[in-house]
């Protein structure tokens, strides 16, 4: 169960610009707010567009390592929680501020003819979300998520202006979900933990119609994540442990991007991403045996999600001045979660992302970079009857601030 929720959050974090989003995993991708598909260069091409490894000018091995510090401000809720027409309670509250450190590592081999390979090890979705206010705890006292992706890739240079790439995705995730209704006259509690290893693939191609224009497409496959673990479910002071699993989709995503470079110094990239969240119809938990009848409503009945596909539009600019590169970007994205299905564990909304960064070459083989990203979320107001989880009121706050420090090394 814990895993289930965790995966749900993970997917959100990774593929949408949600409150917990860790959009990318390198200096450039943070600085450009994920507007980093057509015009990638360096070791992080292995992750963001493996086809571009084939166009890498350097014939050396490339490596980038770094650490992203993630600050997740509190979500605030002002309003009411309704359990029925006659059970409506004031439910103001706020989640805890969370700070995370997410490391990453990218590698690209030196060329072997027209072929080049690489690999990335990233933490695309680490987060914790904790509510200490009474009604929120019933649904999401704590959600903690750890996600790791290992992504070996290979590229093939078909011609001087066309290359393809692809890879194999290995995703490991684990997490825990705690919820507790004892403070709101619902003597039920859950403790859930679980993990999974799942597999998928990614594809990429880059076409250069002329030397300073890149057209690129990347695709990441849908992965059904079957989270398996244990769930302790309590009524009153008595708990029982069950084996538990749930399957959630890590949806496919398609990126289409174009970049134009002027004078080898100034590059603009436009990126459109389509994320196929509509595959996420419901969240259905399965247990090794029947759970206690009063808990079924809360912990076993399928939870309707009915998420929708999302569109994200990004615009990024790169200015390269001798040994210093400046980057900045703006993104506008939308949440996949209809208002009817929003809940406390992920009060996500449409948002805007501003990012910037700098990278300095300190030698022919080493460069250092610093990047910052700010994710600003819209408030969400849910009117009476609008939300199927009985939430009436306004979510505010949330979003994210990310700061990445990384180093690139050629050898």
């Amino acid at each position: 169960m814990k895993n289930i929720v965790t995966l749900s959050i993970i997917t959100s974090s990774f593929l949408i610009a949600g409150a917990y989003k860790v959009p990318e995993q390198s200096i450039n991708s943070i600085a450009l707010g994920a507007t980093y598909v057509a015009h990638t260069n360096g070791a992080d091409s292995a992750y963001f567009n493996p086809a571009n490894m084939a166009f890498e000018e350097s014939d050396k091995q490339l490596m980038e390592a770094g650490l992203t510090l993630v600050h997740l401000p509190e979500n605030k809720f002002n309003g009411y929680q309704a359990f029925s027409a006659t059970e409506v309670y004031s439910a103001n509250g706020e989640s805890e501020v969370e700070n995370l450190g997410l490391p990453y590592l990218h590698y690209v081999s030196n060329p072997m003819g027209k072929v080049r390979w690489g690999a990335s090890l990233t933490v695309p979705g680490g987060l914790t979300k904790k509510w200490n206010s009474d009604y929120q705890k019933l649904f999401a006292q704590e959600f903690t998520l750890k996600v790791i992706e290992f992504n070996p890739v290979v590229s093939y240079r078909v011609s001087d202006n066309f290359a393809v790439g692809g890879g194999f995705r290995v995703i490991y995730s684990e997490g825990k979900v705690y919820s507790d209704g004892n403070q709101v006259d619902k003597p039920i509690k859950r403790e859930m933990e679980g993990d999974t290893i799942e597999y998928g693939y990614n594809l990429a191609l880059t076409y250069k119609p002329i030397e300073d224009i890149n057209l690129a497409m990347t695709y990441r496959s849908n992965i059904n994540l079957k989270e398996e673990g244990d769930a302790n479910l309590y009524i009153g002071g008595v708990g029982k442990q069950y084996s538990a699993n749930v399957t959630v989709p890590l949806p496919a995503s398609l990126n289409l991007a174009i970049s134009k470079t002027w004078f080898d110094k100034f590059t603009l990239e436009f990126n459109y991403e389509r994320t196929y969240w509509s595959k996420y119809k419901s969240l259905d938990f399965n247990y090794g045996s029947d759970i206690q009848a009063p808990l079924v409503e809360y912990f076993d009945d399928p939870i309707a999600k009915n998420w929708k596909d999302t569109n994200t539009f990004r615009l990024g600019a790169t200015v390269k001045m001798d040994n210093i590169t400046y980057m900045m970007a703006y993104s506008k994205d939308e949440t996949p979660i209809p208002k009817e299905y929003i809940n406390y564990e992920l009060p996500d909304s449409d948002g805007e992302i501003l990012s910037m960064g700098i990278k300095i070459d300190t030698s022919d083989t080493i460069s250092w970079g610093l990047a910052y990203l700010h994710d600003e979320k819209d408030n969400i107001t849910l009117k009476s009857g609008e939300n199927k989880n009985g939430i009436i009121g306004t979510f505010s706050g949330g979003g994210a601030d990310l700061l990445t420090l990384g180093v690139n090394y050629k050898f």
């Binding site: 590592l105 003597p187 993990d195 302790n232 009153g236 002071g237 009063p294």
Partner: protein, 415 residues
């Protein structure tokens, strides 16, 4: 190249040490000789009872902690059977009560067919307080003892249920009382020596059978028994059933005939017509609820389409030495003289067990020299201006019983 491979190789385990490990088992209270299956605090109980309209803010409500306790009893044939029961204690009681100890109420449940309706099974499956023990424990402050009966709980599908059979019914309750006393001692639960007996419908019959055996054995002391709406005079009950053209609840009568056939080693197909005789072992194995059993049985009492064999019914009425005549007399619990105080609580509007059965029981017992037996009709006791049926009477009858038990405890124990 070697360097980067080394770096990645070092990095992978670094990332994976984030593993969260296995989830520990729930941290339930550990007890000796049983398991905690329900544990609601006083505040949780109060909130629940207020939401159900059973209490208000001014009500005194205690917490509810229930244990499933396995034990061994003896069936009609004298064989040992592994069975189970539910023991419920109030929590959050005043400190003084801990030294005075809890008074016990042995509460025998009414007729059930599905194992899922047995007290310890309900508690284990739902994890929530249920039924009469809420009234007795959380509102009354009593330790409540509810045997599952042979055929249910731990003996589910291991043994037929001895329905309205005196010996095994009494054994099952008495052995549970003894098991609970041992359990309480082992787990530092302080009980006093006050023991009340009650039960409704089949449970009323079992409670009176239990009292009779306790008085015969002399091992336990009962403060008062309040059997409620039971078929104490089984002979008269059988006459009433078999003389009527139709059966109001055929599952009850089928269980009655089936259990007696098993206990007296009589082929069931000499008691019950086919195809019902062949179907009863499945219908009554504890896997099916009553509302699904009745439609599969005949509502005609006898005849070619009836539930009971015509010869069986004829012999019952015509042959005074017929085995079933002896059996129903042997298993009746109304014709003796209790030396314990007994209150026979029943609704006058009972449509399943005639109120007259309680009247006859009171009259018979007093005529035979009972020390203190009285009839307590529910409707006038509660000031109701209308009669109440058997199913609707249960909660009211338990309310009357709880009040009587509480008054006695207040007088004798002091709380």
């Amino acid at each position: 190249m070697k360097n980067i491979i080394k770096t990645v190789a070092l990095g992978i385990p670094l990332f994976f040490v984030m593993g969260c490990g296995n989830l520990d088992q729930p941290s339930n209270e550990s007890v000796k000789g049983g398991e905690v299956v329900v544990d609601f605090s006083a505040s949780a109980m109060k909130d629940t009872l207020i939401s159900e309209g059973l209490a208000d803010e001014n009500s005194t409500v205690f917490g509810y902690r229930a244990y499933k306790i396995p034990y061994t009893t003896t069936d009609e044939e004298g064989n040992e059977v592994a069975v189970s029961g539910l023991f419920v204690i109030p929590t959050g009681m005043p400190t003084a009560v801990n030294s005075l100890g809890l008074s016990m109420v042995s509460d025998d449940h009414g007729t059930i067919f599905a194992n899922s309706d047995a007290p310890s099974v309900i508690a284990s499956n739902n994890g929530t307080p249920d039924g009469s023990s809420v009234l007795l424990t959380s509102l009354g402050g009593f330790a409540t003892l509810q045997p599952d009966y042979i055929g249910f709980g731990d003996s589910y599908q291991q043994h037929y249920h001895p329905f309205i059979l005196k010996k095994s019914s009494a054994n099952c309750t008495i052995d549970f009382i003894k098991a609970v006393k041992n359990f309480a001692y082992d787990n530092n639960i302080t009980l006093n020596n006050q023991l009340f007996l009650t039960g409704y419908s089949e449970g009323g019959y079992v409670a009176l059978a239990t009292l009779q055996k306790i008085e015969e054995d002399g091992e336990l002391n009962v403060t008062m028994a309040i059997p409620m709406a039971g078929p104490y005079d089984v002979n008269r009950t059988a006459f009433g059933i078999l003389s009527a053209p139709t059966l109001s609840v055929p599952s009850f009568m089928a269980d009655f005939g089936y259990a007696y056939g098993k206990a007296y080693n009589i082929d069931i197909d000499t008691v019950i017509n086919e195809p019902y005789a062949s179907e009863l072992p499945t219908l009554l194995d504890g896997s099916i609820a009553r509302d699904l059993i009745d439609p599969q049985l005949s509502y005609d009492t006898t005849g070619d389409t009836g539930l009971f064999k015509q010869d069986f019914v004829n012999n019952f009425f015509a042959d005074s030495s017929f085995w079933f005549r002896d059996a129903v007399v042997e298993n009746s619990v109304h014709a003796w003289a209790p030396q314990t105080s007994v209150r026979l609580v029943q609704c006058q509007g009972d449509d399943v067990i005639p109120f007259g059965i309680s009247q006859i029981t009171e009259a018979t017992m007093n005529a035979m020299g009972a020390r203190d037996v009285a009839l307590v009709p529910v409707e006038p006791t509660l000031g109701l201006d209308h009669n109440v049926t058997h199913s609707a009477c249960g909660g009211l009858a338990y309310g009357v019983a709880t009040k009587i038990f509480s008054d006695i405890r207040k007088t004798t124990i002091g709380y």
